[in-house]
Symmetry: C3
Subunit: 153 residues, 3 copies
């Protein structure tokens, strides 16, 4: 089983990003007891902010791709924090923030890009509680931001 | 005491909804240790999305009613998850998202619809920490979305 | 070490506010196990709501000052809850809500006002996970709202 998560990642042609250096007075994750709290990760494409508002510059399908990209970065942070992704007992909670025009109402479909990816990687351990909603902006103008709580073995 | 929560629910003429089937890769709740994390629940009326923005289509009083309706659905999920609402040791935290016109500033009054209901049902165990704020949209255009963390016996 | 946190607070000419009385059916904090969940605290100046939207009435620098002011109030609540701030083992997580015009994209810089202050007070124990984003409104029209999770000794 220890191999399988990384094999699944490989089979999807995904390279996990390294742990990002904290850019300010906060850190990418904090562990408290058996819970690992990950900071909000913003959508990037080619290492740069993936900018735009859903319902204006970006389609739901593009937003879903961005949410998947954020989930890959969250996975990279989990790997960096734990050394071994098999240490993840459960993905507990996702908060999915979608940079939304006031008329855009498909935040749940955008969020599925992250949710479905986590289940693809972790199986039933990847099934999480979730809140997804539209926000008026995200740092750097990114289209999606996600934070995550995981339970550790 | 085990009777009293359900008696209180009955006395308010409330029928708890059944656990909703997960509509995507996420689930209505996840338990981790003694904490139960509930997914964001969106406001419904007659089983359909309760649509509208506060400060535009809906009044504060209507938003408060919607928040109470969401709290009833959260109660249904707690009951479905635990089998017995007496298992709730404490309602720990609510995040109340109010679909808000940029000029609407009474999110706290809307949120009271949920907060007051939980205290009505659980007494002092229902007193929770809370964050309430305005969002630019909610899935399906719903007026209110709430997620919840509860501590279990 | 027990002296040093309060000495640091004194040296910054900061007077901690008393615990605010709950204004509704919710409370300023809830403890569950080793975690302390603080309610969303809104920005105040001279005891009144610090009103305005970033990217419209307020500059990033003003928002950063407001975030620092909220962090001082959070510190007051931590002190009121624990009696002794040395009981704080770790600041685990901050959610920083910035009342934002849809064009404002510097929520991370605003949030640094709170993050940097907490590290100034708590040292490495103050380094936290964080999500910062723009919301369409905050209760009373305040410019910043922050909630916090802390781990206790």
């Amino acid at each position: 089983m220890s191999m399988s998560i990384y094999k699944r990642i490989d089979s999807l042609n995904i390279t996990l990003p390294p742990l990002s250096a904290p850019v300010a007075a906060f850190v990418p994750y904090v562990r408290s007891g058996n819970l690992l709290y990950l900071s909000g990760h913003i959508a990037k494409t080619d290492g740069k902010p993936w900018v735009g508002k859903l319902g204006r510059e970006l389609t739901t399908e593009q937003g879903k791709s961005a949410a998947r990209a954020v989930a890959i970065d969250l996975l990279g942070t989990l790997h960096g924090a734990l050394g071994d992704l098999e240490q993840v007992k459960r993905i507990v909670k996702l908060m999915v923030l979608v940079n939304s025009d006031p008329s855009f109402t498909e935040q749940h479909l955008v969020a599925n890009g992250a949710s479905e990816f986590l289940v693809e990687i972790f199986g039933h351990k990847g099934k999480h509680a979730r809140a997804a909603f539209g926000v008026s902006q995200v740092p750097f103008g990114c289209c999606v931001e996600i934070d995550l709580v995981a339970e550790i073995q």
